[in-house]
Amino acid sequence: MPENLLQLQNNFQEYLMQEKQDIKQSIMSTEKVSAEMRLAIYGEAYRSRLHEALEASYPALKKYLGEEEFEKLCYRYIDANPSVYRSIRWYGDQLAQFLKDPFLSELATLEWTLALVFDAKGGSVFQLQAMSALSPDSWADMKFIMHSSVYRLNFSWNTMQIWQKLMEEVSPPTLKKNARSEGWILWRQELTSRYASLPQDEAWGLDALLNGATFGELCEGLCEWVAEEEVALRAASLLKGWITAGLIVDVTIK
């Protein structure tokens, strides 16, 4: 281990992250530019680069809080969460957990999830016509491989409506708590990111599929919302919608 190099890098990094001054003894001053000024170029760049990364990932949160409050939040986050990522694209993944306000946390979760949808793995999806190749006897045992871009979120606030208006650059509606948790799905079709609100039974059904449920288990679970004689029809209709929307990559028989 190159011990001298390690010591110098340690001192430099402690300056960037905690403004510790040990590195100063290693830096030469010139007549024109002092060691402090020289180090400050790196110090400012460190914080502003991470700040920019957070701005890129959380544009609506920035608009909602305003530039000044958002900047304060970023600097608190930066101090508490140094980057451990090779690519700065992943910096900011803990912001939703960092935010104590439950609505702001939901808004941050939404924005981070949208970024995950944007560059999730693509690939071909299961086509409706392929269902005809499956024997009706085996339907109950069908399992589903979901597209990598599919994410399910539940909102306790009118978070999605606020986000939409913020992104349209118009005044957002007043913050309002939902009477009950509102289910949404986010996904990507080809290169287009999409999102949709879900009735309660569909939200449950999608969660079940994401957790590996069979079509039979889906039908059983849906009985909570639908009469037993109508459940097969409801399940088939949901499945048709999910396949058409490109949420399912493949269907296997258990």
Partner: protein, 273 residues
């Protein structure tokens, strides 16, 4: 040593230009991609990359190898770099002669190294390991710097020359970075340029910077300045023709503005031969 490849005149590939590149198929000989932007599972970045690769040669330029760090090399990262290289078959892969963090942290900056024998050995050894893993020689780029360490025992050009020779790698010479550092550290940029062995220089970066009066910050957000053009011309006169590109990272102008700058580089290089 085999004859070095020559790609001509290229640009850094930026998302703002994806559509224009696909529609207009501009007269650019090649594009340089920022490796980390494409280490994602899928979506638009990889879609456009594949489309652009159909029409243009590419080179990969990374910012996260942290070749000068005292942390162990990040093999997971290198595996991803290798997988991307297998997919897009770049003419070459480059990263910077710097460190970006230790103890598992990333400062997301190209931090300068002390120019010592200890560092030369350390970095050259790591470049060799990376080259063995990637099964190709890599290009190492000189970074601009704002500090000089008391610990340094040699000039920056002596440091680079020793590393590229010990590691048997190539160099991506950033002429703007040399100019920036020459002002910040008060040395003669041509002493630096002439000290680098011609056969090792595979690529040149040209870029703009911000002049703060007493010092210059390498912001890559302006057009190339006359002093850097002049230095570029002298570089080509001294070293012969070298694949050259304009690197704009911020304040990205329309593609046609960069094409004009690139044509100017072409004109200067032709006149310098």
């Amino acid at each position: 040593m085999s004859k070095k490849p020559y790609l001509g005149f290229g640009l850094g590939l930026r998302t703002e230009h994806y559509d224009a590149i696909l529609k207009q198929k501009p007269a650019v000989d090649w594009f340089e991609i920022l490796t980390e932007n494409y280490l994602v599972p899928g979506g638009k970045p990889l879609y456009f990359l594949d489309k652009i690769r159909e029409n243009y040669p590419l080179v990969m330029h990374g910012v996260s190898m942290s070749i000068g760090s005292t942390d162990p090399l990040d093999w997971e990262y290198l595996k991803e770099v290798k997988a991307l290289a297998d997919q897009i078959q770049p003419a070459w892969i480059s990263d910077h002669l710097c460190w970006t963090g230790i103890h598992g942290k990333n400062m997301h900056d190209l931090l300068p190294l002390p120019y010592t024998e200890e560092t030369v050995k350390h970095v050259a050894n790591r470049i060799r390991q990376v080259q063995d893993f990637l099964e190709r020689k890599i290009l190492i780029e000189n970074v601009s710097s704002y500090v000089t360490y008391h610990q340094s025992q040699m000039t920056e050009w002596e440091f680079i020359k020793e590393i590229i020779e010990q590691a048997d790698c190539h160099i991506l010479l950033d002429v703007n970075n040399i100019y920036v550092s020459a002002i910040n550290h008060e040395f003669n940029a041509l002493d630096y340029i002439k000290a680098i062995p011609s056969e090792r220089i595979y690529q040149i970066h040209l870029a703009g910077h911000s002049n703060n009066g007493d010092y210059i910050v390498d912001t890559h957000d302006h057009e190339v300045v006359d002093e850097v053009w002049n230095l570029y011309k002298k570089t080509i006169e001294y070293h012969g023709k070298i694949s050259t590109m304009i690197e704009r990272d911020d304040n990205i102008p329309p593609l046609k503005t960069l094409l004009k700058e690139l044509n100017y580089a072409r004109k200067l290089a032709t006149a310098a031969k």
